[in-house]
Assembly symmetry: C2
């Protein structure tokens, strides 16, 4: 869990003010944000491990409100629940909406260990989440940066700030190790 | 409900055999399929009306198994449940998986009154549904034919047969009338 690697911040919101103040404030804000993203990803990785413990693909997600407080956590339960929609992101979004009592999750940040697929990227846009933080890239089904850019498509009615590659190696290794073990056990 | 209009069959599976037999069989199969799609759409429209009765956007969906038997029905509950993922298609997929006891819905057909969005098109691919039948096109968020082609993207690991425009006018008018009434009532 301590293997926090540098990650790309694609978009940084700067406070308004004088030039010098802006730069300092921006740097402070960036450090705060990086710490916040790493903290959320650590919690998402803990969720992924819960999926793995139950024999499901290790992907985890958390959602934090505008104060940085984690209000929902979930892990992939597709096999556990025999539900094709039970991806970590969708379950976390449903849980967060339940906590807030509104289908709009504006101001919230979702952190997930793997780049969201089409379904999850679509759900993120529908929920109007402010920020998506993800770990490993998904070359086969990633719909945020890889195959599609659903979370910042100008044609849709909402766009998110995207932070990619947070603790990517740890997130990716979880999946690689899981599928290697599955193959060794003769499972598909 | 009796306003069944002609619709486009983009892909028709033909039985194998001699040329003459193939043509007759193909025509018979086409008529059977068209009747089946119209029947499923009628059931989906009934679901959409249930959403409207409860003040939610009138979109409905059903899923039929390989024998044409409807095994799941659902309607849009985004406002009713305060859940951004509670689109008719996602709810129908979850219900069908629950009935079958498997996350794979191969052999099944989903009929929905409005062209699926990114989330729903992604869920359709994840559930490995055979066929998607939809009514009205969604110019703002359609992800099957309009903005994206998620259900027949060669890069993803599953593709569906797509039948569009089934009873499109009735399906579209439901939405137009609903939003007109909302505006008249001063709701956004």
């Amino acid at each position: 869990m301590s293997n926090i690697r540098p990650f790309k911040v694609e978009f940084v919101r700067c406070w308004r003010g004088g030039v010098g103040v802006s730069i300092i404030a921006c740097m402070t804000k960036t450090c705060e944000s990086e710490f916040q993203y790493a903290r959320l990803m650590e919690a998402a990785i803990e969720q992924a491990l819960l999926a793995q413990d139950q024999g499901d693909v290790p992907i985890g997600a958390v959602i934090a409100n505008g104060d940085g407080e984690i209000i929902a956590s979930a892990y992939n339960r597709r096999i556990i629940d025999a539900d094709p929609t039970a991806h970590a992101e969708v379950l976390a979004i449903r849980a967060a909406a339940d906590v807030i009592g509104d289908w709009r999750l504006g101001g919230c940040t979702l952190a997930v260990t793997l780049e969201p697929c089409c379904m999850c990227a679509g759900a993120i846009v529908l929920a109007r989440l402010d920020t998506v933080v993800y770990g490993a890239t998904d070359p086969k089904a990633g719909a945020v940066d890889t195959l599609y850019h659903i979370c910042n498509d100008e044609r849709l009615n909402h766009r998110c700030e995207i932070i990619s590659g947070v603790n990517a190696a740890v997130c990716g290794n979880l999946l690689t190790d899981f599928f290697r073990a599955q193959r060794a056990a003769g499972k598909k």
